[in-house]
């Protein structure tokens, strides 16, 4: 029967445009060691390793988990590799948490990474392929028409995007791991930055980062020995829908709504806006903040932008979104989802540091991927049940 799962260790690398001091193995190792240290464990205490990353073309090593087995202390143990596009960091954490909830393992190390500086993200995501016209310029090109649809549908003022950009970059100044540190960010500066994929401007986009994030997950029994407060997983779910189909709502995909409904039901949440203290949402382009606020039930349809506009989502607001600085400040793609899940856990553990939300007890971690079609979420709490 189902065993409760806890996060007892979190480790992150310093994120940067290029971590040229490390090999691929060194990168995952930095995060994994910090997670083990946080959990007060050593390599021998780990039962299994679950690793995730986005397309292998970023680093040019197919299924690189095989050659990372030494670095993650996995020799002689079960090791799995998850890949669900941008949502992979979240999905990977969920696969690892299932290993605990099912009673199969007591302690699982889960790691997600990307070392994007080894190649070029736009190339790795959109290589010129036969029979496919070379239209879509990377992820920004793909999502720009969807953002335009949202702006039209919601009637949102154009400065909302720039406000998200400023809010998340200012939050990143309080996060020592964050890649972008832009103390001089302002709405005017965002609005003056180059228009890359109209309607998306340069400063409204996520960076390309090197980095890894790791967590140690434990059963109720194993969590009792943890040196620091655990975060209890109160609900988790994944949902997928096809990339394209007739009548598809790409702005607010049903898979996202269903995923949120599932995790809230598991966690006993009926009024997410009141009951959730902080959320780390996967926002790679500014406008996805209001879009996900609606999709995940924090706001009514076409109303999410008002929460950005009135400061509700800022650190210090009623529902802070991405106090870590979010994907807009740090984006090693394969790890970005796990960073959301881990930051949510740190908030309810009270270990988020300078970007801690006071009194946070219940938090959401969220990731999405593909053509806004793969969703992974969890709700974590300082309370066991």
């Amino acid at each position: 029967m189902k065993t409760r799962c806890a996060v007892i260790g979190v480790g992150q690398t310093r994120y940067a445009a290029r971590r040229d001091d490390l090999s691929l193995a060194g990168l995952v190792r930095e995060a994994a060691l910090r997670a083990l240290e946080d959990a007060g464990l050593s390599w021998g205490d780990v039962d299994a390793v679950v690793i995730g990353k986005a397309p292998d073309f970023f680093e040019g090593v197919a299924m690189p988990e095989a050659f990372l087995a030494d670095a993650l202390g996995a020799v002689g143990k079960p090791m799995m590799r998850v890949h669900t596009a941008g949502s992979v960091g979240g999905s990977t954490a969920i696969v690892a948490a299932h290993l605990i909830e099912s009673g199969v393992h007591e302690r699982v190390l889960t790691v997600a990474f990307e070392k994007q500086s080894e190649s070029d993200a736009m190339w790795a995501l959109s290589p010129k392929y036969p029979f496919v016209p070379p239209l879509v310029a990377g992820a920004g090109g793909f999502f720009a028409p969807i953002v335009r649809s949202y702006m039209r549908r919601a009637g949102a003022p154009v400065e909302v995007g720039a406000m998200v950009a400023v809010k998340d970059r200012l939050a990143a100044l309080k996060n020592p791991y964050a890649h972008l540190q832009m103390a001089d960010i302002s709405v005017a500066k965002v609005q003056a930055s180059p228009m890359l994929w109209d309607p998306i401007r340069y400063l409204e986009t996520c960076p390309s980062s090197d980095g890894a994030c790791a967590m140690v997950l434990a059963s109720e029994r194993a969590a009792q020995g943890a040196p620091r407060a655990p975060a209890w997983v109160r609900g988790m779910a994944v949902r997928s829908e096809p990339a394209q189909f007739a009548g598809r709502n790409q702005v607010s995909p049903r898979a996202g709504r269903d995923c949120a409904a599932d995790v809230y039901a598991q966690a006993g949440i009926t009024r997410p806006r009141e009951q959730i203290d902080v959320a780390e949402l996967y926002v790679p382009f500014t406008w996805f903040e209001p879009m996900w606020l609606e999709n995940l039930g924090f706001a009514d349809e076409n109303e999410g932008w008002r929460m950005t506009l009135d400061g509700t989502t800022a650190l210090g607001g009623a529902l802070p979104i991405n106090p870590s600085g979010g994907v807009l400040s740090t984006n090693p793609i394969g790890a970005s989802g796990m960073i959301r899940f881990a930051e949510a856990a740190q908030q309810v553990r009270g270990l988020a540091g300078a970007h801690q939300v006071d009194g946070a007890r219940t938090a959401v971690g969220h990731a999405y991927g593909g053509a806004s079609q793969f969703f992974a979420m969890w709700v974590v709490s300082s309370e066991h049940a």
Binding site: R19, D20, D21, L22, S23, A25, G26, R29, W43, G44, F57, E59, G60, D70, A71, G73, A74, V75, S117, E118, S119, D120, M122, W123, S126, P127, K128, Y129, P130, F131, V132, P133, P134, L135, V136, A137, G138, G140, G141, A144, P145, I146, R148, S149, R152, R153, P194, M195, L196, W197, D198, P199, P242, A243, Q244, F245, A246, G247, R248, Q250
Partner: protein, 327 residues
């Protein structure tokens, strides 16, 4: 118009060559970097584990325990073949362009074996347990290829590596990947693209949900069943959303800026992505009515690039309600 040909039969599937090529810029970290620096200087170094084993080439972490590795240890440039195989037809990019052996070589002073090529005259000259020594490259850059190969040890051992001028420690390497493919778009898309060559846009209707997909897919995404009847759709449609691209990227072939949009063709239930042209970028709008501008018949190939772009028809814009479900 309903097609007569059985749309499920994979008549003549198309195919095209595809090359995945990229030169990765790797950072190597302290352990690999020191090993590669040593090779450039004509020296082979391993690392010692807590249990006292000497790993060559040096692993960054102990393969048995996962622990960090300890001190560097210089090992010999000659050793013993532990296993080997014979390559009678070398491929481009391998260490030798004549038949050679791959071998696992345990260097003197090492406890593990490294993989490299052995330049032997024939398989008869190879045996497990034989001694081999390094043949250094004269010009070395900090790569496992600084060892040109191993050669059978005639008793004199490895010769000294020719000296290289001093340089900064190795921190990175270039790593080219080049893979060649022959890609088939599958039977359904092949049939559609044959229609494109003829200037036709042939959608397919799902027998379960009755929606018309252009281009059709291998199965209906919502129903999971193969598509049924072929349905010709119009080459006019409505722009449901769009993006103006101003950013250059590696491998990009389009001139900047360009506008592409989701075009819901009349008669189709799903939009296609294509270029929007014949109108200033800042006048493109949702609801704009557009028509395909085809390449001349002789220039059309089995790709949607046979439509140069979609350009305004001059009709009044479509009302938002007519396409709001398609974005």
């Amino acid at each position: 118009m309903e097609g007569k040909q059985d749309p499920a039969s994979p008549a003549e599937a198309l195919s095209a060559p595809y090359v995945l090529a990229y030169t990765y810029r790797r950072s190597v970290g302290p352990v690999i970097g020191r090993f590669l620096t040593g090779l450039r200087e004509g020296r082979i170094e391993g690392v010692r584990t807590a249990a006292g084993r000497v790993l060559v080439p040096p692993a960054e972490y102990d393969p048995e325990t996962g622990a960090a590795v300890g001190d560097f240890v210089e090992v010999g440039a000659a050793g013993v073949v532990q296993s080997w195989c014979w390559v009678s037809e070398p491929r481009a990019g391998q260490p030798l362009d004549r038949p050679f052996a791959w071998a696992l070589v345990k260097l003197d002073g090492a406890d593990t074996a490294m993989v490299h090529a052995v330049d032997a005259p024939s398989p008869a000259a190879m045996r497990t347990g034989m001694r081999v020594c390094v043949r250094w490259r004269a010009e070395r850059v900090g790569s496992v290829r600084d060892i040109a190969c191993f050669v059978p040890d005639e008793g004199s051992g490895a010769s000294e590596a020719p000296p290289m001028p001093p340089a900064e420690p190795v921190r990175g390497m270039l790593s080219p990947v080049h893979l060649e493919f022959t890609i088939s778009p599958g039977a359904t898309l092949s049939r559609f693209l044959e229609g494109v060559v003829e200037g036709k846009l042939l959608g397919r209707r799902c027998p379960a949900c009755a929606k018309v997909y252009v281009p059709p897919k291998g199965a209906c995404p919502t129903c999971g069943v193969p598509f049924g009847d072929e349905v010709a759709v119009s080459d006019t449609g409505t722009v449901t959303s769009f993006c103006i691209v101003n950013v250059p990227f590696e491998g990009q072939t389009m001139k900047l800026p360009y506008t592409y949009g989701s075009v819901l063709l009349d008669g189709a239930d799903i939009p296609i992505l294509h270029l929007i042209s014949g109108i200033p970028a800042d006048e493109v709008r949702m609801g704009l009515r557009v028509r395909a501008e085809w390449l001349p018949a002789g220039e059309r190939r089995p790709t949607l690039e046979s439509i140069r772009w979609f350009a305004p028809t001059g009709e009044p814009d479509a009302a938002y309600e007519t396409f709001s479900e398609h974005q």
